[in-house]
């Protein structure tokens, strides 16, 4: 199956700037999600996703096309930016996992009445479910954020970005076997961290 992003990159290299715009639109949401889940912070995620696109644009001539090259290239650049960000943040202090919870319409002071008043007709978005959903997301994001970087990164690439093991091993420059065992290890760690949440719900 030909990779559309890879085709678009070839067009960019031939001077078609608009092809890059299409690449951005196809990849911006996954990229921001990847960075936000990895850092546990959606505000820094947008900034770093933009930085990733700018870096890609600047070194577009160095891109070597090939099967599934684009996603590995993009996540490789983004991963390095994230690692730098975490290193810098380590010097500044810790961050809060609570920031990442997706709650666009309601502030932290929302009462149950507010939730009912703004509840859409969709059953899955009604207040009880919404609070539950928020709690669940918080538990999972906390568990992810507690994983060491070397386990967190491949886990997110596999289970949230849905990359193949081959793509992940290329992105992280790890042998395939190491990649597989590290992802299994990461999932086992996640299971242990979510134990109390799963057993209480």
């Amino acid at each position: 199956m030909p990779d559309l992003d890879d085709e678009l990159m070839k067009q960019c290299q031939q001077g078609d700037i608009e092809a890059f715009d299409l690449i951005v639109r196809r990849n911006q949401v996954p990229l921001v999600n990847f960075i936000a889940r990895f850092l546990g912070n959606p505000d820094a995620a947008e900034d770093l996703a933009q930085e990733t696109f700018v870096r890609m644009f600047k070194v577009i001539k160095r891109y070597k096309s090939g099967a599934a090259k684009f996603s590995t290239w993009m996540y490789h650049i983004a991963s390095n930016l994230c690692k730098n960000e975490l290193r810098n943040r380590g010097r500044r202090g810790r961050f809060f996992v609570d920031n990442v919870i997706t709650e666009p319409s309601l502030g932290p002071e929302s009462t149950k009445e507010d939730l009912i008043a703004t509840a859409p007709a969709d059953v899955s978005l009604q207040p009880g479910n919404q609070l539950e959903r928020k709690e669940r997301e918080h538990a999972v994001q906390s568990a992810i954020s507690e994983l060491p970087e070397r386990y967190r990164l491949p886990l997110i690439l596999r289970d949230l970005q849905e990359l193949s093991y081959e793509e992940i091993s290329e992105t992280l420059i790890l042998p395939l076997g190491t990649t597989k065992s590290r992802i299994n290890r990461a999932r086992l760690m996640l299971k242990d961290k979510l134990r109390s949440f799963v057993e209480s719900s």
Partner: protein, 204 residues
């Protein structure tokens, strides 16, 4: 198969990456092992939770902010002085350029003279007139030599030397390397070796 080995194959079993023999062995361990069955169930549940994480939507500013940054990346960075001068026109620009040139010359002169007055870290031997005639040098050469010099020396400005042709600057050589560890800024100075009167192999 023990529990530890079974645990190592949780992902491979779930993702159908085991061969027939391995599947048989895995299942043969799990069916009597209550602990592994429980852990495997929890493993699947936590993976489901992970896969159910909601997608984070982009803020409305994302697109425009990215366009600005990409546009910046496309434009070659303009030097500071061009950015300042660009909006100005005709005589104003000319006048400002004149003032700038003057300022540079004045500053250069000042720094140069200051360097002559107090050369702090340089050990200078004033060469006697005779020693300037190097008997066995092969000809006139100009060499770039790495030397220790105070920061104030206008190192790469031969023009400022030209302004003072009568100065003693040309007599300040050879310059010997200071014996202290080279901690100060390294600069390049133009060192002129005078040509000799000794016969050469037709090099001149």
């Amino acid at each position: 198969m023990n529990c530890l080995k079974a645990e190592e194959q949780f992902s491979a079993y779930l993702e159908d990456e085991l061969d027939y023999q391995a599947v048989k062995a895995f299942e043969a361990h799990l069916s009597p092992c209550e602990s592994c069955r429980r852990e495997f169930a929890l493993f699947r549940e936590s993976l489901d939770l992970l896969h159910q994480l909601p997608q984070i939507e982009l803020s409305t500013e994302f697109d425009i902010a990215l366009q600005v940054r990409l546009a910046d990346a496309q434009v070659e960075p303009i030097p500071f002085w061009q950015r300042v001068l660009r909006p100005l026109h005709g005589q104003t620009r000319l006048a400002l350029s004149g003032i700038a040139v003057l300022l540079v010359m004045v500053a250069g002169t000042y720094l140069y003279q200051r360097a002559l007055v107090k050369p702090k870290s340089v050990e200078i031997t004033v060469a006697p007139e005779t020693s300037r005639r190097v008997p066995f040098a092969e000809g006139r050469r100009v060499q770039w030599r790495r030397q220790q010099f105070p920061l104030a020396v206008p190192s790469r400005e031969p023009q400022s030397l030209v302004n003072f042709p009568e100065s003693s600057a040309f007599d300040l050589q050879p310059v010997r390397r200071s014996q202290q560890p080279q901690r100060l800024e390294q600069n390049y100075i133009l060192q002129t070796i005078n040509y000799t009167e000794a016969p050469t192999g037709g090099g001149l």
